[in-house]
Structure formats: structure tokens, C-alpha cells
């Protein structure tokens, strides 16, 4: 395509001349000329099929009618799309489509947004000539979420092609032949399709419908609110459909810069919790003594405790943490309260996976200034996914990468402690020794410098050297490493080594971007606002005040220095890498305030629980993985729960420390002024597709960063093995994991993986473990019980475990003071 762009073709459609780029489909050319050609099987995501025959047109000099969707425009083509002949043909094709289609629009979920219904009306087909028996086949469940209504299917195969051409899952196929042909699954066990829900809108009729939405509402009576998905950091646009205070379904909102209309099944289907909230009132006390209190009383208790502890132990005895799913406006208010109003230094925003303090300049610069937008990533010659199972960690990004790489010369290469299993995996993959990314990085850097492409990572080295533009996406295996900061510095070193090699070999330097695949919806925003001063100055200088780190904060709490811990939207027992440190911290503090939406381990342990309104009621902004600032909109759901801003404001008033704004708009307008990339925006002028937060620096400043990185000394040696603990723990994140949102939504248990200790077959025989057997996985820090599973994709010498298992969190095996976690696996008697 690229080479042909720019060339134009002129043709005549219904007597009207149009000029379109070469390579344009006739259907699109007609649309550009103002003539809509009906289509069922064609779709912009899919290769043309030419099967439904709705798009028949007359092309001069051709003996038969031709399908416009499969025809590419040619210079001088003369086309008729509106004539008696064409109208007759369309009517005939519609009649064929309707033969076996039931007359049940009034009870069909698609009614009101159905392409078949619309065209039938447009063509005035009111009477059927068909008096024979219609074919019927009982409904089937394609996935736990998708119900197939066979009678309505018009066999356009959009669904099958989506699974083949876009997601690559090959979930669906066609069975049988002729009029009896029908869509079916292969019926084999295996990873389902994480994007299957998109087939609901893709299906032009009501054949594939959502089991969760089935018979729940008619499209025209739903209230629609466009907002941003809050389930991962990709930040797809979604539309929330509500009626009578209930969230009934989520559909894609279509943002070309982010999702292009795809959303993942988690984003689409894990919404039931919003109608199923566990708390409606603040609660005081633990366990059996817990009781509901009024907001008035709750505020008094909180204010009383804060005052008491500040008076007794000083303001630094207050510790505050805000999780990475809050809005930017929440974070601004949070900083203000913690730092200015309460006066404590012990506050932190985010999950604290990366410790910025060790080398703030290099790390922060790479986080802010080397990052790429999603569009830039998609256009890179090389995409390198490091320590990451992209489809689990950033699903729609993975899908779009797969889609743009299809049939192109560009490449996706993986580098990880395991070979990502399942249907979605990089074209080329390299494994490093589990837990030893730094050693691998050392080898890669040496190979790049030496121009040696024969080693273990030879292919990767060569591609890095050759790629004009590359995007590195690094994920959980590095982020959850105790030395995540060192891993990042190593990636930076790889980047600069590649730059130097290219320059030394007479090539233009090119560009390599680095994006962390952070887990939570606004983890990037959390990063921005945890480092605001630094960003506002925007220059490569060292920040004066070393930041409080999550690790430092928890250690202070465990040591008894922090007496009151106030957690907002975070359960560190699950998210922090070292569970025992969090346990000790929680045990040591005198008073625990937890402010959250759903129930989890820390809400259970809170001395004071402050429930807040859920995501569908939230206003504010998020920053996504690709540094796009997007606006959240609240639906029409009325709640009596306050927002984070409201809770904090009331608390401030109670404390007699004045008040701050509770409207995100006011706060946003303040931060926007401080941040050059968005200083032209106000809350109400944020575009629907968002706005890029572009912090990139000029060449000169980047040069300073390069120097800074060069100064860093890294130790690339392998970690020593540990006697008695022969395996390395590898933690992996899954899209469907056992989080509170999942637990409180319908059907999620059907897709959430079991708690598994995934091992290489050789290790299983070595340690006498059978597939499916119950085992304990034990480190010097703790033990968890799991089910062993034989997996070829796991490297020998390691065990791969999901890091989100309630009751068996991998964080209980890990110590924040060790840089690699060794474990042993034993069968349970």
C-alpha cells in the first residue's frame, strides 16, 4: 500500500466522476461519490470475501454483474450502482438472505441495530415468496459469553474471518455444506479468544449475541455514555449502556488512535460488579465487631485518628497510598492533601513496581521521554516485547500489533522467561534464563557492540541493529522484578548500544522507544503525578527530593514509624511483590483506613472502610499505555456513594484544613496549565479520542540523558543458585484473573484460569510431580498450594505461576530484599 499511496485514479460512478487513491475498493469509491452500496460480508477489518453478493454492480465491458467489495478501482472505469437492474439484483439477494431467516425482530437483541433489518426496510421487501420449511438449529454457546442463534445467521463468515484474520484464535469454523452450512467451534480445549465479544457488533444480524445482555434491553431505550475502559492500561474507548440505574452492556467506543473499535472480552463482559456493589455505607471495626456508620460519623472517626496521631507522633506517622486505577484529578487532590494539608512525606501514588529512586534521571526520562504512542508503536519496523505476554498484559494492543504486522515485512519479536503460550505469540521468540534478564541484557549489549549476530540472541541483535524504528514494550516479568529499575536501565543500555552501532556503521541513528506495559488503567497517570515536579520542570535535572517509594513506605510502617495507613483504591497484599512485608506493615499500624469500591483482603482488615462510587459513575481523566490523555464520563447511574474527591474534601473540612474542589474539571484545568503538552486544553475541550501527552525532549537534552545512562554501572552477572531450591519462580499475569471485579461479575469463573504451578515436563519427572497433582511451591519466604500442570512453553528450571491467585498469591514467596526467588516444588501428600 505504502508505495502506491499518492497515486490517484479517476473513475465514473453513476455518471459522476470521482478521484480516489489507487488501490481503493469500489465500495469505498462509491461511498466517496455519495453512493452507498449495501454489504453484508465485507468489513474494513477483513479481507474481501465476495460471498453475500449484496454489492453487485454493473461495470462497463464486464459480461456479468460484479461484486464491488472485491473490485479495486481502475482508471477510467465506468460503474453503475443505481439502476433497475441493480435494484432488482439487490432485492433478489436480500430475498435469498431472508429465506431461512426467522421473522423475530421484535424479540431479537439486534433489532434496531441490525444491518439486515435496515436493508430489508430500505428495499421494501414486505412479502415472502418462500412457503417452504425454514432450516432451524438449536442455539449453541460459542464461548461462555456468546450465544449463537443459528436461525438468524446469514453465513457472511465475518465471525470466522475475524478469528482467522484478526485475532488468529481460529475459534470458529464452518461445518457442513450448502444451506446446511453453519458456524461451529472446533470443540477442542485451549485458550479461548480474548476478543470474541467483538463478533457481536461484527455480526451484521442478531446471530451472535451477548449471553449477559440477552433479552435485557432494546437498543433504543438505552442511555449511552462514552468513556474509557478501566481494566488495563491500553485504555480502549467504550460505550456504557445503562437503563434504570443499571449498567446493561459495554460496547466499543471506537478510537482510531487506540483500539480501532476492538475491545477485549474482559473490558466488555466484566461489568456485572457495578450492579452488585458490596458496600453502601462506611464501616467501622473489624470482623464481628464491624458495623455500618453514617458518613458524618465516619468522617469524625477518621479526622479524630489523624489529628490524634499527628499530634502524638508527627505528620510523618501518616502513610497514604493511592492505587493506579484512580483518575489524574484524584491524584492531584491526593498529593495536595497528603503533602500540603496533612504535611506527611510518606505518600505514594501507584503500585510501586519500579523504584525510581535509584537513578531518577535516567529512569524517569526513559519513562516519560522515550515512550511512544500506540500509533508509533504500530508503525515501528520492529516491535520487541520483553518479559511480557502481550495478549495477557495489553490485549487490544497485542491484537492491533498482530493486525498491522499481517502480511508486512515488519516484525514482532519476543524476549521472555517463557515462550508465551496460546494462539497469540510473536513470530520470533527468544527465552532468557528465568530470573536472569540482566545477564541476558549484558549478552545482548556485548553482541550489539561487537556486531556479533551468531550468539543465543543473534537474530534479535541483528534486527535491533537493522531496524530504523523499534518499539520495546516491557512487561510484568521485568516490572515485578525487585530490580525493575535495573532492568529498565539495561533496556536503555541496549537502546544506546544499538544507536552507537548504527551510527558507527554509517546508518542514521533511528529511534527506539520504550513503553512499560503497566497493569492498571491509569498506571501511566500515576507515574506522571507521582513525579509531577520533575515533569513540570521538564528538563534533565536531578529531582531535589528523593521520592518516597512504596518499598520504603511499607518498611517504615512495618518498623512502627507509620501509625496510620490510608489506602485508596489499592490492595498491596495482592499488588506489591512482597506479601509478608505488607502483612507486617498492616499488622504494625495502629489504624488502617481503606477507601475503595469493592471488597478485598484489605477492606476486610480495615479499621475504617470508606466506600466510593464505581467507575461508571466516575468523571476525570486517565493516561493510557501510549501516553494518550482521555476523558472518563459518568453514566446516568445515580449513586449515593461519594467520589474519592468528595470523601477527601469532607475529611479536610472535618480536619479544619479548608477545602478543595470536588469537581474534576477545576482540578484538570489547573494541571493542564502546568503541563506544556496539554496546556491548550480544558476539561471540556479534551477531544473524544483524547490528546497525546508528549513530553519528548529536544536532541540536546536527550544527549544529557544518554550521558547519564552511560554513567550507570550495571552488574550483568547471573544470580547464584540456591541450595535446596532448584527452581526459579516466574510470575505471569493473566487477562482473566481472580480480581474483585471478576469475582463480582457474571460468567467470569468460566474463563479464569485455575491456580496452576506450570512446569516443564523434565522438571516434573525430576521432582516427581504428575500433571494435575496438588503441590506445594515453597521458597524461604513462604509456601503456597497449587495444581501442577505440564507445559512445554515453560523453560526447564522454572515454575510459572499467575501472580493473581487469591489464597495463593505468589507475593508470599517473594522477598523485596532478594533479587531472584528460588523455590522448590513438592507433591502434597
Amino acid at each position: 500500500m505504502d508505495a502506491r499511496e499518492g497515486k490517484l485514479v479517476t473513475l465514473t460512478i453513476n455518471g459522476k466522476q470521482v478521484t480516489v487513491p489507487e488501490g481503493t475498493k469500489l465500495t469505498d469509491a462509491a461511498e466517496a461519490a455519495g453512493f452507498k452500496i449495501p454489504q453484508f460480508c465485507a468489513h474494513r477489518w477483513l479481507e474481501p470475501l465476495g460471498a453475500c453478493r449484496m454489492c453487485l454492480v454493473r461495470i462497463e465491458k464486464m459480461p456479468k454483474l460484479e461484486t464491488a467489495c472485491t473490485t479495486v478501482v481502475r482508471e477510467g472505469m465506468v460503474v453503475t450502482t443505481e439502476s433497475d437492474e441493480i435494484r432488482q439484483a439487490r432485492k433478489a439477494m436480500l430475498e435469498f438472505h431472508l429465506l431461512n431467516h426467522p421473522l423475530e425482530c421484535p424479540v431479537c437483541d439486534k433489532g434496531g441495530e441490525c444491518e439486515l433489518q435496515d436493508l430489508t426496510e430500505a428495499h421494501g421487501l414486505t412479502k415472502s415468496r418462500y412457503v417452504e420449511d425454514k432450516l432451524a438449529r438449536p442455539d449453541a454457546m460459542l464461548t461462555p459469553f456468546l450465544r449463537m442463534n443459528y436461525k438468524r445467521c446469514i453465513m457472511c463468515k465475518r465471525c470466522v474471518r475475524y478469528c482467522e484474520e484478526v485475532t488468529g484464535s481460529h475459534l470458529l469454523k464452518v461445518d457442513e455444506r450448502g444451506a446446511w452450512s453453519h458456524i461451529a467451534t472446533y470443540g477442542v480445549e485451549g485458550p479461548a479468544d480474548y476478543f470474541s465479544g467483538n463478533m457481536i457488533e461484527l455480526c451484521p444480524v442478531g446471530a451472535i449475541t451477548s449471553e449477559l445482555f440477552r433479552f435485557r434491553g432494546r437498543p433504543w431505550e438505552l442511555h449511552r455514555t462514552r468513556t474509557v475502559c478501566n481494566q488495563c492500561s491500553v485504555g480502549c474507548s467504550v460505550e456504557l449502556h445503562t437503563r434504570q440505574n443499571e449498567l446493561l452492556r459495554i460496547v466499543p467506543g471506537v478510537n482510531p488512535y487506540v483500539d480501532d473499535g476492538h475491545i477485549c472480552d474482559r473490558g466488555r463482559f466484566a461489568y456485572g460488579y457495578a450492579n452488585n456493589l458490596p458496600f453502601s455505607q462506611p464501616m467501622v471495626g473489624k470482623g464481628g465487631e464491624r458495623r455500618e456508620v453514617s458518613w458524618e460519623e465516619a468522617e469524625s472517626i477518621a479526622a479524630g485518628k489523624i489529628t490524634e496521631i499527628t499530634e502524638k507522633h508527627g505528620a510523618n506517622a501518616l502513610g497514604l497510598i493511592a492505587g493506579s486505577g484512580l483518575t489524574n484529578e484524584d491524584y492531584v487532590a491526593f498529593r495536595l492533601i497528603a503533602h500540603t494539608h496533612l504535611g506527611t512525606e510518606n505518600f505514594f501514588i501507584g503500585e510501586g513496581l519500579i523504584d525510581v529512586s535509584s537513578n531518577p534521571l535516567a529512569i524517569l526520562h526513559s519513562m516519560f521521554f522515550d515512550a511512544a504512542s500506540i500509533s508509533e508503536i504500530l508503525q515501528s519496523d520492529l516491535i520487541l516485547s520483553v518479559g511480557c505476554d502481550l495478549v495477557e498484559e495489553a490485549p487490544v494492543l497485542a491484537l492491533r500489533i498482530g493486525q498491522t504486522l499481517n502480511g508486512s515485512q515488519r516484525k514482532l519479536i519476543g524476549l521472555c522467561a517463557y515462550k508465551p503460550p496460546g494462539y497469540w505469540s510473536p513470530q520470533e521468540h527468544y527465552c532468557y534464563d528465568p530470573g536472569n534478564f540482566l545477564a541476558a541484557a549484558g549478552e545482548i549489549i556485548r553482541a550489539i557492540e561487537a556486531g556479533d549476530t551468531t550468539g543465543r540472541y543473534g537474530g534479535l541483535v541483528e534486527r535491533l541493529q537493522q531496524a530504523r524504528t523499534a518499539a520495546i514494550i516491557w512487561g510484568q516479568d521485568l516490572l515485578r522484578h525487585r530490580d525493575a529499575d535495573k532492568c529498565l536501565l539495561a533496556l536503555l543500555k541496549i537502546k544506546y548500544a544499538a544507536y552507537r552501532w548504527r551510527e558507527a556503521n554509517g546508518m542514521e541513528r533511528g529511534h527506539i522507544s520504550l513503553n512499560p506495559a503497566l497493569r492498571s488503567a491509569n498506571a501511566t497517570g500515576a507515574l506522571v503525578l507521582n513525579n509531577l515536579e520533575f515533569l513540570v520542570r521538564g528538563q534533565p535535572e536531578r529531582p531535589e527530593r528523593p521520592h518516597a517509594t512504596m518499598r520504603g513506605l511499607l518498611k517504615k510502617a512495618a518498623a512502627g514509624e507509620i501509625k496510620l495507613l490510608y489506602l485508596t483504591g489499592i490492595n498491596p497484599l495482592m499488588t506489591f511483590i512482597d506479601r509478608s512485608l505488607v502483612e507486617r506493615a498492616l499488622d504494625a499500624v495502629d489504624f488502617l483506613i481503606v477507601q475503595d469500591v469493592l471488597s478485598n483482603e484489605v477492606t476486610e482488615r480495615a479499621d475504617l472502610l470508606l466506600p466510593v462510587a464505581p467507575w461508571p459513575c466516575r468523571e476525570g481523566t486517565y493516561v493510557n499505555f501510549g501516553w494518550r490523555l482521555q476523558r472518563l464520563h459518568a453514566t446516568d447511574i445515580v449513586t449515593n456513594l461519594p467520589s474519592n474527591l468528595e470523601v477527601w474534601n469532607r475529611l479536610l473540612i472535618k480536619l479544619g484544613k479548608g477545602s478543595h474542589s470536588t469537581t474534576p474539571a477545576t482540578i484538570f484545568d489547573e494541571i493542564a496549565r502546568l503541563m506544556p503538552p496539554i496546556s491548550h486544553l480544558t476539561f471540556d475541550t479534551i477531544p473524544e479520542t483524547g490528546s497525546l501527552l508528549d513530553f519528548r525532549l529536544d536532541e540536546e537534552s536527550m544527549q544529557k540523558v544518554a550521558e547519564e545512562v552511560a554513567k550507570v554501572e550495571l552488574d550483568y552477572s547471573r544470580y547464584e543458585p540456591m541450595e535446596g531450591y532448584p527452581l526459579v519462580l516466574v510470575q505471569k499475569i493473566y487477562l482473566f484473573r481472580n480480581s474483585p471485579r471478576m469475582r463480582l461479575s457474571q460468567k467470569m469463573d468460566a474463563v479464569t484460569p485455575e491456580p496452576l504451578a506450570q512446569m516443564h515436563p523434565d522438571d516434573m519427572s525430576e521432582y516427581g510431580v504428575a500433571d494435575g497433582q496438588e503441590v506445594t511451591v515453597e521458597s524461604v519466604n513462604g509456601a503456597i498450594e497449587l495444581i501442577a500442570r505440564r507445559c512445554d512453553w515453560v523453560q526447564p528450571g522454572s515454575v510459572v505461576i499467575s501472580n493473581y491467585l487469591p489464597g495463593a498469591p505468589t507475593s508470599s514467596l517473594v522477598s523485596v530484599d532478594e533479587n531472584i526467588t528460588y523455590v522448590r516444588v513438592r507433591p502434597l501428600q
Partner: protein
């Protein structure tokens, strides 16, 4: 008196021709030796072009012209797909070649591969041809051993290989693009043309698709020269054709004739005429896909042009004759069922239209016909023909439209009198 002109079938009657030694003893692989030793690839294509050899799979497209469409300096591999999926009702000539004269076809394949520069030959064999598949595989084995296949064939420096692939019993897989998709391991669904297989065929590579009989004629064309072949037949339909005669004739079978002989000569002189002394009611000139012609049109010369002019097609060369006692409505229903069951289901008009027509036939034969049914049938034919994705849809309407036009009174009788056809077999699928 119409006589046969045996070319592909010239060794019919010689025992064990499927064996390499017997085939060689009867002049086998001489054409290949000649091509490799004396002719440049372009010269082979030129010779086949000049001979006027036309495809015998149905469309009658000139073989040499098709070969010349394949890009010469294509950077990747190019393939030959030999279409041995013979599924058209009434056609059984390819089966005879596969079982009785496999080396003739293989020799033709190798010559074609040499001429066009094809590195691999895929023989796509109909799934039910158990014997034929075995014979081709044995013959290919022998040819490999003897150095006719494989690397550096007969020391010429030219290499090509052969693989036999069996289908799974779908008529549509005989359509060339469906064949390629099925060969690739996909569902037997046709693809939109263009691109034509000669530019983008199997696995996206340029691919020649030719019928078994077409390829089996090639050795004779090379051995005897283009003029010899062009000297037979008519002006536009040159050469010979294996004609499968079936239906109500005394001696059904395969008869190889020059194009241009009278059709009545094939039916009467060669196949022994209509059986039991009955009269001819009509016939399909080229298999079940071709419109039925009335007895008055049995005097036509047997060539593509004359039959087309009469409103039908020579097709794959299968004459199905039916006698005066035939229940035409029932006959049409049988064929309509074939098309309904064999439609691949990819495109809407064919998928839906073929079953609709079958349902109407079934209702008429049960005594439930309505006055408007014939108009509806004809209008389904109009809506389906030339509007489906592949020519299957056109094939499905031939019998319906032609029998309604020729024997309308029989249809009307069924409808008027609510006549019921007494079935011997009940079709299973609904």
C-alpha cells in the same frame, strides 16, 4: 457411421498399461524425452498453443494460452494442479485415465511442468477414487525410480516432483480455486477471480490448473506435432474428446471421437442408441450442469460452438440421454438435489437458491405444486445465474430452466392433478 479416434485411449485393450514397462513398450515417455532433449520450454508452450488443444475440464479454455499466462521470471516456486476431482454427474473419463493409463497423464504433467517451469505437480484426486489414487501413486513411484520425476530429470537439469492429494468428497472442489483452497488444507470454498490461479494459485504462487484428460492429451500432441492435432476436429474445436455416454442407451461407456462428429452418431453408432427400442426424449450434452437439449438437436456436430449455439454447453463431455418414458420433473429433482447438497455454501444465492429449488421440486412431487411455482423456479434461476461467486450457481440452474421450457406440460400436469411421485428412496437430508 461415426467412428472413434483413439488418442488418449489408444492403448485401451492392451493389458496392464498402468505399468511403466508396458507403457514404455508402447511408446510411453517418448514425448517427454523429445521435449526435454529437443525443445526449449517456450517451444513446448508454442507447440501446445498451435495444436489448439482446449481444456477438457469444462470450460474449453486453450491449454497453451493458459500456460503462457504464468509469469516467466517469478521469484518463488510455481505449481501444477492436475484436476482429478471428476465429480460432474455423467462424467467418468478421468477415472478411466487414472486407473488405466496413469502414465500418460503423468507424462503430460511433466511436460507441462517443463514448459512452464513448475517445481511441483499436485494431483488433486477425488476422494472416492480409491483405485485411481493407488494407480497414480504407483505410477509416480515407478516414474521416480526411472528418473522421469524428481531432480534432474533424465539428465536434463530440469526437476519437478509429484504429490497426490485426495479430496473429501465434494463436487465443488473440482472448481479450480476451491481445489486450490482445499489443497492448501482449507475448506473447499472457491475464491474470487481475479487473481486467476496462473498468477496467484496454490499458497499464493502461480499455478496451472488443468484437467486430467487435457494433460493426458499433451504427450500425443508433443509426439505427433501440433499440425497433427490441429488437423483433427473443427475450425475452432480442434482435436479429440473422450465422451462419456450414459443414461438410457444400450452401450453406456467412454468413446473418444474427433470434434465435429454428429451427436446422434455418438449416441446411436457408438453407444448403441436409446435402449429397449424407445425414443429419445432429450439429452444433456455435457453433464448435469448443461441445459437439456431436445431430440431435434441431436443432429448437431459435437463441438463447443455448435452446442453453445443450441443453448447448451459441451462441458466435460458427458452425454446423458433419457428416453420417452422418463419422468422429467423427477429427473430434474434428482439433479436439483445434487446441486443443493453439493453447493459449498459460501455465497448466498447458490446456498439458498439451490435448496429453495429443491424444496419446490419436492413439494411438487408430493402433489403440493402451486400454479406460481414454475414462475418462482424460473425467477430463482434468473436471480442465481451469473450472480453467484463461482460457476456452480450457473450450473445449478441449467436443468431447471431447460426442462421447464422444454417439458412445461409435464410440470403442469403434476401441479394441476396433484400427481404424487412414488419414491423408492427417501432422501435423508432436510
Amino acid at each position: 457411421m461415426t467412428e472413434q479416434t483413439k488418442v488418449v485411449m489408444r492403448l485401451d485393450g492392451v493389458g496392464d498399461v498402468h505399468r511403466l514397462d508396458v507403457y514404455e513398450a508402447n511408446g510411453g515417455y517418448r514425448a517427454l524425452r523429445k521435449a526435454l532433449a529437443e525443445m526449449k520450454p517456450e517451444e513446448v508452450i508454442e507447440e501446445v498453443k498451435k495444436s489448439g488443444l482446449r481444456g477438457k475440464g469444462g470450460a474449453g479454455f486453450p491449454a497453451g494460452v493458459k500456460w503462457s499466462f504464468v509469469p516467466k521470471d517469478y521469484p518463488g516456486p510455481k505449481y501444477l494442479a492436475c484436476n482429478a476431482d471428476e465429480g460432474e454427474p455423467g462424467t467418468f473419463k478421468d477415472r478411466w485415465i487414472l486407473e488405466n493409463n496413469p502414465h500418460e497423464m503423468i507424462e503430460g504433467c511433466i511436460i507441462c511442468a517443463y514448459a512452464v517451469g513448475l517445481s511441483h505437480i499436485y494431483v488433486y484426486c477425488r476422494g472416492e477414487f480409491y483405485e485411481g489414487k493407488r494407480r497414480i501413486e504407483q505410477a509416480a513411484q515407478e516414474a521416480y525410480v526411472k528418473g522421469y520425476l524428481g531432480d534432474n530429470i533424465l539428465g536434463s537439469g530440469f526437476s519437478t516432483h509429484l504429490t497426490v492429494h485426495t479430496g473429501a468428497g465434494s463436487y465443488e472442489c473440482g472448481e479450480e480455486t476451491a481445489l486450490l483452497t482445499s489443497l492448501e488444507g482449507g475448506r473447499g470454498h472457491p475464491r474470487i477471480k481475479p487473481p486467476f490461479p496462473a498468477s496467484e494459485g496454490a499458497w499464493g504462487m502461480p499455478t496451472v490448473v488443468n484437467n486430467v484428460e487435457t494433460l493426458a492429451t499433451v504427450p500425443a500432441v508433443i509426439a505427433n506435432g501440433a499440425e497433427w492435432h490441429a488437423g483433427m476436429g473443427t475450425e475452432k474445436s480442434k482435436g479429440i474428446k473422450m465422451v462419456c455416454v450414459s443414461g438410457h442407451v444400450e452401450r453406456p461407456g467412454i468413446y473418444e471421437v474427433e470434434f465435429g462428429v454428429p451427436i446422434s452418431g455418438i449416441i446411436c453408432d457408438l453407444a448403441g442408441g436409446v435402449w429397449q427400442g424407445r425414443k429419445l426424449k432429450g439429452y444433456f450434452p455435457g453433464g448435469s450442469s448443461t441445459p437439456v437439449l431436445p431430440p431435434e438437436k441431436a443432429e448437431l456436430p459435437y463441438d463447443y460452438e455448435s452446442i453453445a449455439e443450441a443453448g447448451s454447453m459441451l462441458g466435460s463431455g458427458a452425454i446423458i440421454a433419457f428416453d420417452e418414458e422418463t419422468d422429467v420433473v423427477r429427473m430434474a429433482e434428482v439433479i436439483a438435489r445434487f446441486y443443493a447438497w453439493e453447493s459449498c455454501g459460501k455465497c448466498t444465492p447458490c446456498r439458498e437458491g439451490t435448496r429453495w429449488m429443491l424444496q419446490i421440486y419436492e413439494r411438487i412431487l408430493k402433489g403440493g405444486g402451486r400454479k406460481e411455482d414454475l414462475d418462482i423456479l424460473l425467477s430463482i434461476c434468473d436471480n442465481l445465474e451469473f450472480r453467484s461467486l463461482c460457476p456452480f450457481g450457473d450450473a445449478a440452474v441449467g436443468v431447471v430452466r431447460s426442462t421447464i421450457n422444454l417439458y412445461r406440460d409435464e410440470y403442469e400436469e403434476y401441479i394441476r392433478e396433484h400427481k404424487v411421485y412414488r419414491r423408492k428412496f427417501v432422501p435423508v437430508r432436510h
